[in-house]
Symmetry: C2
């Protein structure tokens, strides 16, 4: 490759001008909605519209074809019906457009004719244009001012996470869900059927891109398994690649075929791929989100021995049982640790054994800070998980004690600065009533304060363990036995 | 038994008077907080306080001991320190008190001395007093005006769910979580170490209680396995019993011992118990909540063949993959069904095959209603799950289309009335940002509207499938092969 992908895909991710093909004069076409979304998101480049007959739409001049646009066009967005797409691509080639994204569906995922149409597009493009799609949501590039269709309100800040996805729906969920982890993106690409740009080329882009340090992917099929595996392998221990492979079940394969017309492949082949490549395998949307996010918070290491601390006994039992499934160990407290802890918490309704039970979430802040340091300082422990120590319900239940809660948040943040081991905070969603939305608001505010202090926060112990397990397995596979601080 | 448990436990669940032992003059004792909570909750009976020296506390007359209270006392609430409890129980016996709840911790769960103290209490009570606890949160009885410590704002309405729990923390979570399913309670008992009333006697109570139709339990140990198994068995197919057994792992057993001093028992013994008794086994808090709730919404049956309908293709792939783990089937659409569905949705970016993809959540209401009826009318299908059809994000993204959303909710409710198969709605938590709390508020309002129409609503497909699987396994075990409508 003489030209780097960073350069080659610059017009796609940072277009100086965008042409939209598929606007209607009635203002409710997909192209019109894309135009409105792009404006609302704040795209700063030039926008051109293409329409066969109209000369002005929504206050912008319209041209009969891409070829008629008098200036340079970096990116063409296409949502015109499938049968028109080959001609539009031909116009793009004639105009010298370097990049297009095709939202239009109705290709290989619907019929054999659709498959032929898709191949025709590829042939017309002839390698001169980089194509995202068809049958996709396109590109969200915060740095380029570019967003996908439901993305008018997506964050405008750049981040370090790159997304490769065959599903547009999961991509929008991911971007919204990322708020739970204060996660931001370098580039997000929903590429659907992937007639040109696909998991291989997009991963190669992210491999080159210095802004991207973690890559998350939702894949249904694969085009060049060998090349993809090699790229993932080459990033092992450098840029983690987390992959949710959809369609591993028999029924899932059928659904994949209806969705993106992909060949889903066999489970055994995919298992071998994960084993050989070092990609992190996840199997649900939440797991993809949680696992991608944890790479932004922890320092590389293989963490297996856990301490739990929380305001309750039943939660310690549940946490212990859950650890078994992930082969985490909860080392027994030494006499020394029990001695130190027993000086700080009441003798009854508590536990000085790991999992530690403070008896109530209402631990005085200075006690909590000290406890966290004692437990984290214990050599047998690789990581500390605290749970049920924030009780935003207090706001409703015991209003006068709210200052306690704020002090506890500050104490955890202070303790974190002195702890050189991973700290995970489980911040439970306590109340689901429509009349208790204030509790959820309080929870999100506590969460954001902790995230901003560099602490990984998750809504339940199961999700904390699953993410930590995936993280530890990744670094173990990458050759790291245990974190050396 | 000559006297029924309903009569015997009436003073515990519907006390005409409560005495509180463990109030302090400084107003921050556990007893004082219980007093404030009870008043705030609206308990209408007489309240007496007991204090060794004070004659008045918080505006109420205080007596030196329970024996000195001039009138009848139905229930004594004890939070005085452990060493004082035997004498207090002796006073209760002398006074003829029929029921006590002991919040106090520091018994068998902390030491051998604590175990002896607990046995002493039992001996002194001599079978004349029914005891809840020690080391517990006590009783929440909406009908009796009684609540447990953090329960000032619990619902005052009666319901059909009975709870038996060794953990107070999980009980409070359950009561708050029940809002997500519009679930209310007959009685909720956190019984901790269970020196007298325990899983056996409480289940026998619920077996008799006509208000209770479903029983959920969090257990750490068991006292009389045979009797418990027989009671559960006798309720098979009549009152489902859903049990989360804590401490099945080795580390969990250790934690159980520190929590309630229970003997956790072996996994193989518990597996046999579940198999023989017909109790529904669950293994997390969320699973207990979801599974208990589903019994309030579906009609008894064994549902295995599912149809999915949603606004997206990726979600259909994920749903298909998840079905595999639960052995659910997603029958392939017949030509007839495909024909009918294809008349209602666009030919591209959709799927007329099961899992059905409407292409976008923005399906016109009348189309959605019609689609639901077509798919539910299909004979191969036992149950219909709809997902990603409500898009409360619209309020922010496309404000002008909000009326569409309300119409869709109404359409689902209307369709439900004409569908004689289970309908489950997955209402995803879409946005987690602190600045997007309005979306969560909208979501909860849509949820409540659907719940009020008798529709089971859950936040993701996995939880829907797990609950439906547990429900179907229960009815299969109870001898029902398939629902006959």
């Amino acid at each position: 490759m003489s030209k780097s992908l960073l350069d080659e895909l610059r017009p796609l991710f940072y277009p100086e001008s965008v042409a939209i093909v598929g606007v209607s004069t009635s203002a409710d076409g997909a192209g019109n909605r894309f135009l409105q979304t792009l404006k609302k998101f704040g795209y700063r480049g030039r926008i051109y519209l293409v329409h066969p007959t109209a000369t002005e739409i929504e206050g912008l001049k319209a041209y009969p074809s891409v070829r008629d646009i008098p200036e340079k066009v970096d990116l063409v967005n296409i949502s015109a019906p499938a049968p028109y797409v080959p001609q539009i691509i031909a116009d793009c080639v004639a105009k010298g457009v370097p990049a297009v994204e095709i939202f239009t569906a109705g290709f290989r995922e619907v019929s054999e004719d659709g498959r032929k149409l898709e191949l025709e597009i590829k042939k017309i493009a002839g390698g001169n244009i980089r194509i995202v799609g068809p049958n996709c949501f396109g590109v969200y590039s915060p740095g380029g001012g570019l967003t996908l269709l439901p993305g008018a309100n997506y964050p405008k800040e750049n981040g370090n996470v790159g997304i490769i996805s065959q599903s547009g729906g999961w991509v929008t969920d991911f971007i919204w869900g990322a708020d739970a982890f204060n996660m931001k993106f370098s580039q997000v690409v929903s590429y659907g059927n992937g007639v040109d740009l696909n998991e291989v080329s997009l991963l190669e882009y992210f491999a080159e891109d210095p802004n991207t340090t973690v890559v998350a992917a939702y894949l249904e099929g694969i085009n060049d398994g060998d090349r993809f595996r090699k790229t993932v392998s080459s990033l092992r221990g450098i840029k983690p690649v987390i992959i949710w492979k959809g369609g591993l079940s028999e029924t899932g394969k059928r659904a994949v075929n209806s969705h993106t017309g992909s060949l889903a492949g066999n489970r055994s082949v995919w298992n071998a791929f994960f084993k050989q490549s070092g990609a992190v395998q996840v199997s649900s949307f939440e797991e993809l989100l949680d696992t991608t996010a944890i790479f932004n918070y922890l320092t590389p290491g293989n963490y297996r021995n856990l301490a739990f601390m929380g305001g309750g006994g039943g939660i310690g039992v549940a946490a212990s049982d859950m650890c078994e499934g992930f082969s985490f160990k909860i080392p027994q407290s030494t006499a020394e640790i029990m001695g130190e802890v027993s000086e700080l918490i009441p003798p009854q309704g508590t536990s000085i054994k790991n999992p530690f039970d403070t008896g109530s979430p209402r631990v005085p802040a200075e006690v909590l800070e000290r406890l966290m340091q004692i437990v984290a300082g214990w050599t047998e422990i690789d990581a500390l998980i605290i749970h049920r120590l924030f009780f935003y319900g207090l706001r409703e239940l015991m209003g006068e004690h709210l200052a306690e809660e704020d002090a506890r948040v500050a104490a955890v943040i202070k303790a974190k600065q002195r702890i050189d081991k991973p700290l995970l905070v489980v911040l439970e969603e306590l109340a689901y009533g429509s009349d208790k939305i204030d509790i959820e608001r309080d929870r999100r505010n506590v969460r954001d304060a902790l995230l901003n202090a560099g602490i990984y926060v998750t809504p339940n112990v199961y999700r904390a363990l699953r993410a930590l397990y995936n993280y530890s397995e990744y670094w173990k596979g990458a050759g790291m036995k245990r974190k050396v601080s």
